[in-house]
């Protein structure tokens, strides 16, 4: 499973005052790179709020690990979605915009999402040092 992102350049955001709503909808935008096996669920729309996606995917993993049979991630600016359906210890991944269904172990999804969050947090901290001290960033991506 390959879960990665491309973060847009951003020189306008004041990262000291960014709110959770900003992170959920308006800042740290970019593309999703998401492959499971030979299935491609990437979305190169450029407007995807990546901190929101990282936090939402982490929430989805928590729910699946907690026994939820199915969780669906909804993109913020369209009705597109990515669905995670549990099948024993595995997860079936599908989307509204990509073809096919992929199967992967839940622990692999969990590890990939954790890595995604950590890499995104590191890159944001590097690009925007004030992000490291922002409460909303810490809440959604975890403390460094």
């Amino acid at each position: 499973m390959h879960l990665d992102y491309r973060l847009n350049e951003d020189t306008e955001t004041d990262w000291s005052s960014v709110t959770e709503e900003d992170l959920r909808y308006r800042v740290a935008l970019g593309n999703l790179l998401f492959h499971v096996g030979d299935k491609d669920f990437s979305a190169d729309w450029g407007w995807i709020p990546l901190v929101d996606l990282a936090a939402s995917f982490a929430e989805i993993v928590r729910k699946l690990e907690g026994g939820s049979p199915s969780e669906t991630f909804e993109f913020t600016e369209s009705d597109a979605w990515v669905r995670f359906q549990k099948k024993g210890e595995k997860v079936l991944v599908s989307s509204s915009y990509g073809e096919g269904v992929a199967e992967i172990a839940l622990h692999s999804v969990s590890a990939a999402v954790k890595s995604f969050r950590e890499r995104l947090r590191s890159e944001l901290d590097r690009r925007h040092p004030q992000a490291a001290h922002n409460q909303a960033v810490r809440k959604l991506l975890g403390a460094a």
């Binding site: 959770e20 709503e21 959920r24 909808y25 308006r26 979305a43 190169d44 729309w45 450029g46 407007w47 929101d52 936090a55 939402s56 929430e59 989805i60 969780e71 669906t72 991630f73 909804e74 993109f75 913020t76 600016e77 369209s78 009705d79 597109a80 915009y97």
Partner: protein, 135 residues
Amino acid sequence: MNLRLITALLLAFGLWLTADLSIAQSAGYGQVQTGTDQVTLTRWALQHIMARHWPDSTATGAGKFQAGITEASLRDMINEAVHNGRARRNTHGRSGTIYEYDFQRQIGTTIDGGPASRLRVVVSNRNEVITAFPF
């Protein structure tokens, strides 16, 4: 009470009315009446929506409003969707409420370019519109 005093009182009352009306007008900008509640469409939210969902927006993977959409007609559609649409909690830790309403006519295009008749409106816990788009 002499005529001058009455005139002065009427003038003062008129000025008070005018001042009150202007406050209502300025506060009313962008507000969408929803019965007892109202949601606010701020300038920021409007710009957010226009950048992604206006007919001339180049954003990919996002539904677009039909040509001819105006700020006023957007407000009307948001009003109708919030008033009559299906409401549900926002998902996966996002705060606020999602309203979805089917207008039974084309209001825009889907991300695939097909006709869209439904509107999704995301409203914050402060009753401010965050985003709205056809699907």
